[in-house]
């Protein structure tokens, strides 16, 4: 069981109704954590181009969840 801080941005923040939350999770990797959060907060999980970052570094959904991490979920970007 890991305890992580999860932060939501843009569309995800609005869908979740919160900017960030502490989560106790058994998720094996960041992808599984995203699905967990998606189910709990009704996030649109079908979007193409969702990205994840950990402790202010871009990460992969295959990366493991480490206790104490700050995990950021980014909906598809649209700058410009």
């Amino acid at each position: 069981m890991s305890r992580v801080c999860v932060k939501f941005f843009a569309l995800f923040r609005e869908e979740a109704g919160t900017e960030s939350t502490w989560v106790d999770t058994d998720a094996a990797n960041l992808g599984k954590l995203f699905m967990e959060m998606g189910d709990r907060y009704n996030l649109n999980q079908s979007l193409q181009g969702v990205k994840v970052a950990v402790n202010d570094e871009m990460a992969s959904f295959d990366d493991p969840v480490e206790d104490g991490d700050t995990v950021l979920f980014f909906p598809p970007v649209a700058g410009g």
Partner: protein, 147 residues
């Protein structure tokens, strides 16, 4: 070489001035402006938000890639965030090189990569009161909102 996020209106004159130099022959700039229409819907304003720590990191990476790939003398990019009105400049890219053969594709590279990789999001407000987040891959034409 500088990538930054600004909450203030962008001043292309000042941004350009910072790039002036005597060993450069070509300067190419791109500006993305807020359009009054996107995907056939009337837009009244846009709100941009960024996750600044990673936006600056990833944006700076894009500029360094452009510099080394195209042999640029200098390159800079600023993205504005917050509430923008019609006609406002959302993003500015400036590229300086010896010759134009490098400057054009380099400028295009920077704006393409910034749009695709830098954590910045755009929410459109339409004349009918509805709002919507613009999502590039799912709604391809929306991705072109401001340029």
């Amino acid at each position: 070489m500088n990538f930054s996020i600004s909450t203030q209106p962008l001043d292309s004159g000042r941004l350009r001035e910072a790039l002036l130099r005597h060993d450069a022959g070509a300067f190419v700039a791109f500006e993305g402006w807020v359009r009054n229409v996107n995907d056939g819907r009337s837009v009244t304003r846009l709100v941009y938000e960024a996750y600044e720590p990673l936006a600056v990191k990833e944006g700076s990476k894009v500029l360094e890639e452009a510099r080394s790939r195209f042999g640029l003398l200098d390159v800079a990019c600023v993205h504005r965030i917050g509430a923008l009105e019609l006609g406002d400049m959302a993003v500015w890219v400036g590229v300086v090189s010896g010759h134009r053969d490098a400057a054009f594709p380099a400028c295009r590279y920077v704006i393409d990569e910034v749009k695709a990789r830098v954590p910045i999001w755009k929410k459109e407000h339409y004349t009918d009161g509805v709002t919507g987040w613009v999502h590039c891959p799912a709604e391809q034409s929306s991705a072109e909102g401001a340029g």
